[in-house]
């Protein structure tokens, strides 16, 4: 049995809007083991980045409830000083947009060196430079000595993302959170970056949380997958089970809305309605019910919970048992008539 690295229990992250608190992350529990990739999938606004930021303690004004156990230490509400010792050292984060994650006025070498310096003050300047060059080489940057003295704007998107990754892994973190690390990149560079993250996982035995909306990336990278909708996890499973038999209506709708390169479809599935904004979230009942109005109300639970349908495969709410796509049945009917 592999070692549990991070365990999040009943995490609730709420933001204050006027005089009320609204939960962007609501009752999320998950765990990551060493040498494991947990993918978190969802659309924009589902709370996946808010979750990552909560784990890293990057929210300034949010109210955080619940436990975040990192190596058996609760980091949900520890002092910033203690957290700073962990962040960038034991926990690293790869940010989504490499252009805004880097300081435009700082040379690449100094930016990566800063991460080293903060956690190891004894490291001499020369050694630090050696280490940075090593890191740059490790993430596959050609001519690292030259790049060391360059500024972010002189590098291409893929190179910048490599620099962001180099910064994140500078202190060989045990936990790496990657927030949409390849969204801004071309496919060929994407596959290089994904290979790189896989290598790092094996080299450093790290646990990785991979946040993405690209199901192809999930299929390639993940060991386990958590699907998020409106702040909640609606389905968790190992990657093979999830791709073979997704159960929750949202997961199934998501799969059907992706143009599949393997087989040609004529029409893509469209999920009705939009992701509700924080303030308009229903506080009770199944949050996805508004977008599948053809499913009877009695199919939903009053207080939807995660049900374990098979070992390790959890689905929220009972509505999955009664769910069918309306269009396909309609089409079949039409075919039947004609």
């Amino acid at each position: 049995m592999s070692e549990k690295l991070l365990e999040v229990k009943n995490l609730k992250t709420s933001f204050r809007i006027k005089d009320d608190y609204y939960a962007a992350v609501d009752d999320v529990s998950l765990s990551v083991n060493k040498n494991e990739v947990l993918a978190i999938v969802g659309e924009s606004g589902c709370g996946k980045s808010a979750l990552a930021f909560s784990i890293m303690g990057l929210h300034n004004r949010a109210k955080i409830e619940g436990n975040i156990m990192f190596k058996n230490q609760d980091i949900a509400n520890i002092s910033p000083a203690k957290l700073n010792k962990l962040r960038g050292n034991n926990m690293g984060m790869i940010f989504q947009d490499p252009l805004t994650a880097l300081n435009p006025l700082m040379e690449i070498g100094d930016q990566i060196g800063e991460a080293l310096l903060l956690h190891n003050k004894d490291l001499s300047k020369e050694k630090r430079k050696d280490k940075v060059i090593q890191l740059l080489t490790k993430v596959g940057i050609p001519r690292p000595e030259h790049v060391y003295e360059q500024f972010p704007h002189e590098l291409s998107g893929g190179m910048r993302q490599r620099v962001v990754i180099a910064t994140a892994i500078a202190n060989e973190p045990e936990l790496l959170i990657a927030d949409e690390p390849t969204t801004a990149l071309d496919v060929t560079i994407q596959s290089q970056i994904l290979d790189l993250i896989k290598e790092l996982k094996d080299d450093m035995d790290a646990g990785i949380i991979m946040i993405t909306h690209d199901l192809g990336v999930v299929a390639e990278m993940a060991d386990r997958v958590a699907v998020m909708y409106a702040g909640q996890i609606v389905e968790v499973s190992d990657v093979y089970t999830l791709f073979e038999s997704p159960l929750h209506p949202y997961t199934r709708s998501l799969f059907n809305s992706v143009p599949n390169t393997a087989e040609a479809q004529s029409k893509l599935h469209v999920i009705q309605g939009i992701v509700p904004s924080l303030q308009k979230l229903p506080r009770e009942g199944c949050r996805f019910s508004a977008r599948i109005p053809w499913v009877e109300e009695s199919a939903h639970e009053e207080h939807p919970e995660l049900h374990e349908v098979s070992p390790g495969h959890f689905v929220r709410c009972t509505c999955y048992k009664h769910f069918n796509f309306p269009d396909s049945s309609k089409e079949e009917q039409q075919h039947g008539i004609s």
Partner: protein, 309 residues
């Protein structure tokens, strides 16, 4: 004669240098692109960032100056400004980013009616009715004409952009990565919608993109660009099932496979393609790293194969 015919299109941007700001060299953003597009079809222009695909699209519609080459649309030469005014109505563009392509200070009615105001003299009342019709056509409520762009979601904004593009009933739409900025479910909405109006209005699309899944879903014919030149052109079938150029092979191999069980195979396949790419890079590209001239493999399939001898 094809509906849209582009012959040997070149768009070069000067690089200024020296104390007098003289032109020292050119960036060859588009360097000899030819394509032809049949009416009612969708042509996909694929390439990585910086390959010149957007510049090609912008040059066709006239947003970038053409250095040399000829663009013929529906029998009219539209390579220069003068002759273009005739067909300006018929060619429209959908932009990539729905957040920056709509003026935040304008109401929806002013955004969508702008092309109408330029080309058709309508009374205020007629204009309002037309805009409402257009909004209904793209699936937005006609009451939203007085709203501002920030009041809409990303998918809805992109629909406003589409409503503006189809306001003058164009014949050709150049769609520059119309769904790149959108979530998958919203992406599905916009793609379905684009297919619907294509049938309804008999539209022809030049679809620019880098997401090969989307391109495969939408297009009949595909051109792959690399550093301003074509490396391969063919039907969707030919490009995906029988890619000939190593660059295309690599691009196709890089698409993430949606089946996690094939992970191992995929990794191995990608490794093979990568090795092949590295080994034969010098055969497929010239000294400057540019592709050679296209040579026909079949009637529809053109590949920039190395010149023999």
């Amino acid at each position: 004669m094809a509906f849209l015919e582009v012959e040997d299109l070149k768009v070069h941007f000067p690089i200024k240098g020296g104390i007098f700001g003289r032109t020292v060299d050119y960036v060859r953003a588009v360097d000899g692109v030819s394509l032809s597009l049949e009416k009612g079809k969708t042509y996909g222009l694929v390439g990585e960032s910086g390959s010149g695909k957007t510049t090609t699209g912008r040059a066709i519609i006239g947003l970038n100056k053409i250095t040399s080459g000829k663009v013929t649309f529906d029998g009219n030469d539209i390579s220069n400004l003068k002759s273009r005014s005739e067909v300006r109505k018929d060619v429209q563009m959908i932009f990539q980013d729905p957040y920056s392509s709509l003026n935040p200070k304008k109401r929806v009615i002013d955004i969508v009616a702008e092309p109408l105001r330029n080309f058709e003299k309508l009374s205020k009342k007629e204009e309002k009715i037309r805009v409402q019709e257009l909004l209904e056509l793209v699936g937005l409520s006609p009451e939203s004409i007085l709203k501002y762009p920030h009041e809409f979601s990303g998918g809805q904004r992109q629909r406003i952009g589409i409503a503006r593009a189809i306001a003058l009933k164009p014949k050709l739409i150049i769609a520059d990565e119309p769904v790149s900025a959108l979530d998958v479910s919203v992406q599905a909405q916009v793609l379905n919608f684009m297919q619907d109006i294509q049938q309804e209005l008999d539209l022809t699309y030049l679809f620019i993109g880098h997401d090969l899944g989307v391109i495969k879903h939408m297009c009949d014919k595909i051109g792959i660009m690399y550093k301003g030149r074509y490396v391969e052109e063919g039907t969707t079938e030919e490009i995906f099932n029988n890619p000939q150029h190593i660059y295309t092979k690599r691009l196709v191999a890089a698409i993430p496979d949606i089946d996690p069980k094939r992970r191992q195979e995929q990794t191995q396949f990608r490794q093979e393609v990568k090795t092949e790419y590295e080994q034969s890079y010098n055969d497929y590209f010239d000294d400057e790293g540019l592709a050679y001239k296209l040579q026909p493999v079949t009637d529809t399939h053109l590949v920039a194969l190395p010149e023999k001898g």
